[in-house]
Subunit: 199 residues, 2 copies
């Protein structure tokens, strides 16, 4: 960020009064421009024992498989966004259920929220951002051709929980190490106790 989006004057990076971190502040009108993480919302669309995946027609990770998901837009709810992405990427209609996977990616300022969903019919097809859309049984999942870490972790936990009947949501952090050889650290939260009186 170099210029104020309100008045067009240059911005400077400084800590505003009463704040404790650097922000882009306009040198002319004084507007403080906050920058915040973004939500990626999507679905795990189910049909009987199968899951719908999309093969990406766009960068990044062109040609790899993913759950339908994308940036949440203004004016919608998280579930609206998850259903919209499923319609856009797979021309598929879903009933969106519970939040299942919540993943933090602080190095790229994203939070993934993946909801369980029921595919309403089999009339799906690739949207503009997909090369191919199909249903996969667990044994058919292309584990080595999945596009994003939160998608892989969500699917891995999803099939594990389906086997054991566990109904909890899952959350975790996917963080880039800042050592000599940067690599991703994946932490799945052992959900701590539910806290409160008598527990």
């Amino acid at each position: 960020m170099n210029y104020c989006s309100d008045c067009g004057a240059p911005v400077t990076l400084r800590v505003p009064e009463g704040d404790n971190r650097e922000r882009h502040v306009c040198s002319r009108c004084g507007t403080i421009h906050y920058q915040n993480p973004k939500m990626v919302v999507g679905c795990i669309p189910e049909w009987e024992d199968k899951i719908l995946l999309c093969r990406r027609a766009i960068q990044p990770r062109l040609g790899l498989w993913t759950l339908p998901a994308g940036f949440m837009e203004r004016g919608e709810t998280t579930r609206d966004g998850a259903a919209r992405e499923t319609l856009e990427e797979a021309n598929a209609r879903v009933q969106v259920g519970r939040l299942y996977g919540l993943f933090n990616l602080p190095h790229i300022d994203q939070v993934y929220m993946l909801f369980r969903a029921r595919l309403l019919d089999l009339d799906f097809s690739p949207g503009e951002e997909s090369l191919e859309v199909r249903l996969f049984a667990e044994r058919e999942i292309p584990w080595d051709e999945l596009a994003f870490h939160p998608i892989r972790e969500t699917l891995r936990l999803f099939f594990r929980d389906r086997l054991t009947g566990d109904r909890e949501m899952r959350s975790g952090d996917i963080v880039r190490d800042t050592g000599d050889e940067p690599r991703l650290q994946i932490t799945i939260h052992d959900e701590p106790p539910f806290y409160g009186a008598g527990e």
Copy 2:
């Protein structure tokens, strides 16, 4: 948004190629400026059967009570953010637990995420943004002096679930009606079934 934050030239509102909604696009460098909802992260800090609330020293809703919560910052996880807000607003240290309340406010492009949390000690005090910080038993909660709807709904559901022992997370939508007399519609999701084979 009037000017490009990258190059300072005026932006125009138009639908970019391959997109389906209007964005601010720079007339000179072509940068597309996306705008997305923001996350508000916070805690329900518990000590025995009591909950920690903060009385706001800042606008909006100066003088009213709230759970410690605020905008998630770049470079942190949702839980980090919830713990940071609790430290900033109440000088209180918590162990952050499960996500409990997820509320969408599409008319102001916010998503609230409130986590259960265990207060680690009683050494808390008002932070810069608080006038007063104290523990409340359920019967003491100042229901008519709560600052924000998602906070009120979260506390209402929290005490109900504590009574019944229900351990589910709760979610809902708080939407402004766009009729002649705009007012808020609050919908708590009846969590739909967990979907999937054999259910």
